[in-house]
């Protein structure tokens, strides 16, 4: 399913949402490679980070062979949760950690073996980018980072961690300021816009229950329709209540679409079908590249944050594990961080990345200052106009405004069931 779009998105190097398991049918070969010339590091993950440029650079820097196995989110999660033999490293989002940890297909990572662990930022280690920042709801990265003595995951720092924190960013919704008046970041811009009657029929939602539910919850809460004891751990009754609200809105025609891929989200806006909707930053970039103004909102309720996780397969041993550790250290070493910075993502060792960025790039991407020139994407094409400022401000300011971290809540299976009712209502 959608091989074309998957591939095109791979070329574009853009993050994709969970996209089903279409490739799973052919995606489960027992990958047992001949090991004549040392181990080949097999990295399972998504198109967001599994870029050919990164692979080549890593191979060159590390002197090892690396194989990237990109796939749809659900597909790679299923593989990671059931077939640890098929990969050495797994790159995905923090919301998959609980599943993997329970499935015991990943092993703890020894921070002592990571040369740059000390340089990993406080955001990843404490969940706060600054002492004054409020931690968001849901699985704050540090709460699922440390392997506690009882084998569970917790916030108390330990030497062993469940994943290496690396790429991260905040998501919100994008909107067309030509159709909707431009709001002031953190003041006017609100998740509540998704359910605003004046935008009825022109709203898109991400077609993913695990994160779409937060967009809906933030929107409903912003409009005072519902409240949650804990936004990041909704109870069944809260989920049901939220869906009752969402379904009522859907039936009234509030939502134009539930997008399943970044290009789809951009396409909807470019076709003029939608004026706003939950989006990922590459989608916003695509809309702008299509010649339509699009702002990536800084909602006053805060962002929905996500954190990339790099996990070590439970089956990785010896030289494979060594190669995996070297690869992880390489990811913290600066070049990859600079690479993804140019895509708008942050790295857990920002100072290392800074060394690989021009000063003006650093000031734009991390410090929220106006671009002094047209700034390039990793492939060199300009993606930022001169004079543009990153909406929401600096890295710190943005991560000081986190409403919730992407989380697979215990009510996830219920959410999935209700999701189709919402979509088809």
């Amino acid at each position: 399913m959608n091989e074309t779009t998957e591939r095109s998105s791979a070329v574009a190097g853009r993050r994709r949402v969970l996209k089903g398991l279409a490739l799973a049918a052919v995606g489960f070969p027992a990958i047992i490679r001949a090991r004549d010339a040392g181990p080949t590091l097999r990295v399972l993950g998504t198109h967001v980070t599994l870029h050919e440029a990164i692979r080549k650079r890593a191979e060159a820097d590390l002197g090892i062979r690396i194989q990237f196995q990109p796939g749809g989110s659900a597909e790679v999660l299923l593989r990671a949760a059931t077939d640890p033999e098929s990969f050495d490293l797994y790159e995905q989002w923090s919301d998959s950690i609980r599943v993997l940890w329970r499935a015991q297909t990943i092993q703890p990572i020894d921070t002592c073996k990571l040369a740059l662990w000390d340089e990993v930022s406080s955001l990843s280690k404490t969940g706060r980018i600054s002492p004054t920042a409020l931690p968001g709801a849901g699985d704050v990265p540090n709460t699922i980072l440390y392997v506690q003595p009882d084998g569970r995951l917790g916030a108390t720092p330990q030497a062993r961690i469940s994943f290496l924190p690396y790429a991260h960013n905040v998501d919100s919704f994008g909107y067309n300021p030509a159709r909707i008046g431009e709001g002031e970041p953190y003041v006017d811009e609100s998740w509540g816009w998704l359910l605003a009657p004046e935008h009825a029929g022109r709203v898109a939602l991400v077609n993913s229950p695990s994160i779409g539910v937060f967009d809906l919850a933030l929107a409903a809460r912003a409009r005072g329709l519902i409240d949650f004891d804990d936004l990041g751990a909704m109870r069944s009754d809260e989920v049901e209540a939220l869906f009752e609200i969402a379904i009522a809105y859907k039936r009234a025609g509030q939502f134009r679409a539930f997008w399943s891929s970044v290009p789809h989200s951009a396409e909807l806006m470019l076709a003029g079908d939608t004026d706003l909707g939950s989006m990922f930053s590459p989608g916003v970039t695509q809309v702008r590249a299509g010649g339509m103004p699009c702002l990536y909102a800084a909602p006053r309720e805060g962002y929905r944050a996500w954190h990339g996780v790099m996990c070590l397969s439970a089956a990785a041993r010896d030289e494979r594990a060594d190669a995996a550790y070297r690869f992880m250290d390489w990811w913290l070493s600066g070049w990859p961080g600079a690479y993804i910075a140019r895509q708008g993502y942050y790295i857990s060792t920002p100072e290392r990345a800074r060394a690989f960025l021009d000063d003006d790039e650093w000031r734009y991407w991390y410090q929220g200052e106006p671009a002094e020139r047209a700034l390039p994407a990793p492939d060199g094409t300009p993606v930022v106009d001169a004079g543009a400022t990153r909406r929401g401000g600096s890295y710190r300011e943005r991560f000081e405004h986190i409403a919730v971290w992407n989380t697979i809540m215990p009510t996830y299976d219920l959410t999935v069931r209700r999701w189709s009712e919402l979509v088809l209502a």
Partner: protein
């Protein structure tokens, strides 16, 4: 030719017959033009109607697509959630049908409406349809693998664990809570039930419950494991580990297909519904637009026809008028020419006829008419001249006759010898003079003269001399008379003079003058001639006779008293 410049263009350009047929041709041309325009507009309308039909057909197709999509979504639920195997066949049928409908819509010219309206949307529709079907297929495959795992892997594992746990029954020691084996049996049943739920047919599952059951099972097993034989324990641990792994794998697999059905496929279905709806409403909008266009077109058609008729009729009317005017103008002029000709005009026919047409015939006729006129006028003139000649001659004759008559009259009252009044005339004149004198009261005197001894003259000298003497005396008398005094020969050698307005005295003086004159003249060489005169004047109560008698008596007395003397008797 330059003289023709003043002629109206139409006249210059077209002969009469052509001008008349021009009007007819214009009318025919207008009718043909109207026909052509009507045909053209009818054709445009027909094309529009075809487009309307295409748009309607395409909209119907899209509606059918929507129906198939809804049906497919329903059938996916039946197939995956309710486990209706028959639904799978229907999905494939509906998929094929929807795909064919879209292909028809895209490729078939008869439905060019769809692709024309939103090719991008149609393309996206097809993409989502493929995605939908692929998603369903994948979900079904996952579900099948899950069901197979359930039967082939899970049940044997659970049974082996069940046997292992049963082997522990009764061996429970003080450290083992009583009934824990039974609890674990129940747990295994629950795990089996949960596993059943993973196929969805048995109802919804909760991942957390499965995790909890497995965790609890492992915890309990750890408490029981010490009582097992080391070999059996290792075996049971392996089975438990495998069961735990299998359950989690099955759970992920279940999440996978449920995700496909609830999220991926559902969103594709929704997107298709929206897209088909959008295409359909696009088509409907276009159909409405075309319908509107047809309506406007029809209105415009009527308007154009009306305008054409109006403009055409006006043009024909105008040109017809011009042509008629040109014809009437010519006819009027020729009529004027003819009426002038009829009035006898001889002026040359001034009529410029540039064509050999009927007007020209009339002009020729006018020329002939004029020629005739000229001929007639000549005849008349000659006739008149003759008349005048005749009249002159008649007048002359009349005058001659009058002259003759007058001469005759004069001759009748004149003495043939002397040319004096004769007796008849004297009688008449005397009577008239007396009547006049009586009426007017004017005087009237007369005298009677008689030659003395005239018998002697005659006898001596002959009658011829006598006559000469008479003539000479008459001549002498006449020469002495003045206006109004008349002289006549009474007879023989007697003369009478009448003096109107003269009384006796005046008459006597005259008589004396005459007597003297005659006496003194040499009237006859031979012998002197004298004359005796008797005078009378009218007195009251005189008649002709009395007057004459008195004059005669006076004469007699003169005679008697010696002749050559004058005597009067008042």
């Amino acid at each position: 030719m330059s003289s023709r410049r003043h002629l109206p263009w139409l006249v210059r350009r077209f002969a009469l017959r052509k001008r008349l047929s021009l009007v007819v041709w214009q009318a025919v041309l207008l009718v043909v033009l109207l026909g052509l325009v009507a045909l053209l507009l009818a054709n445009v309308t027909r094309l529009r109607v075809n487009e309307l039909i295409r748009a309607s057909d395409a909209a119907r197709l899209m509606r059918e697509v929507r129906i198939e999509v809804d049906g497919m979504q329903f059938d996916v639920y039946r197939a995956v959630i309710a486990g209706h195997d028959s639904a799978g066949v229907k999905i494939d049928q509906r998929f094929a049908r929807a795909r064919d409908l879209l292909a028809t819509c895209r490729d078939d010219d008869a439905y060019s409406g769809c692709s024309g309206s939103a090719p991008d949307r149609l393309e996206r529709l097809e993409r989502h349809l493929q995605a939908f079907h692929a998603g369903y297929r994948e979900a079904q495959a996952q579900q099948h693998r899950l069901t197979n795992s359930l039967h082939d892997d899970l049940h044997p594992l659970v049974n082996r664990l069940r046997m292992a746990f049963r082997g522990l029954d009764g061996k429970a020691g003080a450290d083992v809570p009583p009934g824990i084996v039974q609890v674990n049996e129940v747990r295994l049943d629950l795990i089996e039930q949960q596993a059943q739920k993973l196929t969805a047919v048995a109802g919804p599952f909760h991942g957390t419950e499965i995790d909890d059951q497995i965790d609890a099972l492992i915890a309990d097993f750890d408490r029981l494991a010490d009582r097992m034989e080391p070999g059996a324990r290792a075996q049971a641990e392996a089975v438990l580990g495998e069961l735990s792994r299998l359950m989690r794998e099955m759970m992920q697999r279940a999440r996978g297909y449920l995700f496909l059905v609830n999220v991926v496929v559902a969103a594709d279905a929704f997107e298709m519904r929206v897209l088909a709806g959008l295409v359909e409403s696009d088509l409907r909008a276009r159909r409405d637009a075309v319908e509107q266009a047809i309506q406007t077109g029809t209105g415009r058609f009527v308007l154009i026809m009306l305008l054409l008729v109006l403009v055409g009729a006006t043009l024909i009317y105008q040109s017809g008028n011009a042509i008629t005017a040109s014809v009437i103008g010519q006819i009027r002029r020729i009529t004027r020419v003819f009426s002038e000709l009829a009035g006898g005009s001889l002026d040359p026919v001034q009529f410029d006829s540039p064509h050999r047409d009927e007007i020209d015939d009339l002009v020729r006729a006018a020329q002939r008419f004029r020629d005739e006129n000229i001929e007639i006028r000549d005849l008349l003139d000659r006739h008149e001249a003759l008349n005048r000649q005749l009249e002159l001659r008649v007048a002359e004759r009349t005058r001659m006759l009058e002259d003759s008559n007058r001469e005759l009259g004069r001759l009748a009252r004149t003495d043939r010898l002397t040319g004096l009044l004769n007796r008849r005339a004297l009688d008449e004149i005397l009577r008239e003079a007396i009547e006049h004198s009586e009426r007017s009261g004017d005087a009237l005197g007369i005298m009677f003269m008689d030659l003395d001894h005239f018998k002697d003259v005659n006898d001596t000298y002959g009658h011829e001399t006598g006559d000469r003497v008479l003539v000479a005396v008459a001549e002498c008398i006449r020469s002495q008379l003045v206006d109004g005094e008349l002289a006549g020969r009474w007879g023989g050698e007697e003369f009478v003079v009448i003096g109107p307005g003269k009384d006796g005295e005046a008459m006597l003086a005259l008589a004396e003058r005459l007597r003297v004159r005659i006496q003194g003249s040499d009237l006859n060489g031979a012998a002197a001639i004298t004359i005796s005169i008797g005078v009378s004047a009218r007195g009251p109560g005189d008649t002709l006779q009395s007057l004459v008698e008195r004059a005669d008596r006076a004469l007699y007395r003169a005679k008697h008293l010696g002749r050559n003397r004058c005597e009067s008797e008042a």
